[in-house]
Subunit: 362 residues, 2 copies
Amino acid sequence: MSELITTVLPYRQLHDFTEKVFLALDLPGEDAMLATQVLLSADLRGIDSHGVARLSGYVRLWKAGRINTRPEVKIVHETPSTATMDGDSGLGLVVAPKAMQIAISKAENCGSGWVSVRHSNHFGIAGYHAMLALEHDMIGMAMTNASPLVTPTFAKERMLGTNPIAVAIPAGEEPPFVADFATTTVANGKLEILQREGKMAPEGWIQDKNGKTSTQPDEQKRGGALLPLGTDRSHGSHKGYCLGSVVDIFSAVLSGANYGPWVPPFVSFLPLPQNPPGKGIGHFFGALRVDGFRPREEYLQHIDQWIRRFRKAEPINKNEKVLIPGDPEREMEAERREKGIPLLDNVINDLRKVGNEFSVRL
Amino acid sequence: MSELITTVLPYRQLHDFTEKVFLALDLPGEDAMLATQVLLSADLRGIDSHGVARLSGYVRLWKAGRINTRPEVKIVHETPSTATMDGDSGLGLVVAPKAMQIAISKAENCGSGWVSVRHSNHFGIAGYHAMLALEHDMIGMAMTNASPLVTPTFAKERMLGTNPIAVAIPAGEEPPFVADFATTTVANGKLEILQREGKMAPEGWIQDKNGKTSTQPDEQKRGGALLPLGTDRSHGSHKGYCLGSVVDIFSAVLSGANYGPWVPPFVSFLPLPQNPPGKGIGHFFGALRVDGFRPREEYLQHIDQWIRRFRKAEPINKNEKVLIPGDPEREMEAERREKGIPLLDNVINDLRKVGNEFSVRL
């Protein structure tokens, strides 16, 4: 996609701009800073579809009255190691890190903490929230449901979101293991890139509205759907469907959020589903203390050995080494913190339009 | 595979035979009954590769001195919601349900319970253990690592087992949601069936020792490997690699079992890996009280609604309905409890040979 990129902006500049927009939406100062940090962590880590490119989308949701920028986030049900949080229709970017902090403090007290969240909105990248556990020597987990774009195996009806799962695992001398992936064959962002470039999609990513395989990257506009991880029954799509379903149930059936086809859309121009069974979208977070299982030093020695051994696994091509989950994103973040974040023309234009509305200059 | 089946045995007959064999291995009475129940749950649920067909394998491991039939299973580290259990080289079929009971009792006390297990052996089907949580109105989870048959994305070296994950979710009037799947494109058992039938495998299931795609179902005998769920990089094999890795780390790096290429093989004729970093193979279990998140009745109403709505998702073909995970296995179990369990000739012969050694008649 490099030929489409025209501007590279320093992280600091993008951060200040985004923070001012969030302040203009009347977020309290601390929340504006937090939301900015969460949103931009996607740009830093190279998950461009989930970063500032979505800022105008959040603004439109706010205009449609679907985001409460002064939410009273609260725990509505709990045990020593579990809780349900009501996000009071706040930005997921703000609600999610607060829920993750609850999971972490429960883990400090009793070894693990698990928090299901209802009445929230999109929370940026799952990996950000899972990684909050790392500095506490805990494994972090984060997942969220999302509006339906994905068909279960054998279905032509869209029932699940791309429902990502992130697992962040702390290490000693090695960098941490950070997995963060949609439970579909491919993330929606990759289809958007193909559309911009006028290219076709590989077989196995999407199907049309009748359930036939398709290579049109914009098939969703005509009622098509993303396929669960595995692509088809003979290659395990029922496993991707299981994973997406578990995310949906943990995030929404446990908490009282909307699930399946009732999850509200991110885009403000689509109507809300009728007769919703819950409130907003749902997330699920977990924190597990590594010294809840074995002494910390012993754990760190073995996770380092695991990481080193897997990194040395014999590659098929010498030029394409075996990666540890999180390697590419960490390298991208180091590069973009130094050299800045490349943005597409249409994203820049979109940001300027948002800025103009609130008298904030990019 | 039906043309290869020659004998259908009643569940009771198979149960009595298996129990007597376990008793002959000097398992205490209760353990022999438990091991039998766990092993045969695979045959009942239609996962034929993990049931009595493996009995002779367990016996050979016992002969090789690799299974302790009188283990002192104990908790070696714990917090209120977490624990590590040492299986003392016991049968996984016995160690695993005991570990799951610890997870359940921790969940009773503080909302959730998580138990990592070291020094164990193969535990049958993951689904059995996860389902133990259901009658307690808890979500159950079970996973295990296994000897290396699977390559990470970009690798030609086998580093991971088929590392299955099971999640059992209780429902009200509806039957429970039970997902139980290997984190590979396809379970090893399906390749064994193709070998017996002399058929080729679809592309995307396996690769040869050089990392080239292959359709030979016995490719593993020549250094080939199973592929992670997703099959190749462009269809998300890095996600399957992430899942298999998380199972390995939770099961073994947390507990002190062997991980990655050091996991000992199930078959007794292969040597144990050199310089093992831990003890035996590892498992991981979890139990989450649904009323740790919302009132039980509310939860049951919504999980039932989830299940009903997904079952009604519009199918591609009217004759192939959308399934809820666990549907096919539950139907199989009902049928096989009534009509008996079909066994292949070579499995029957194998069982009779085992029986003869211990003067137990099938």
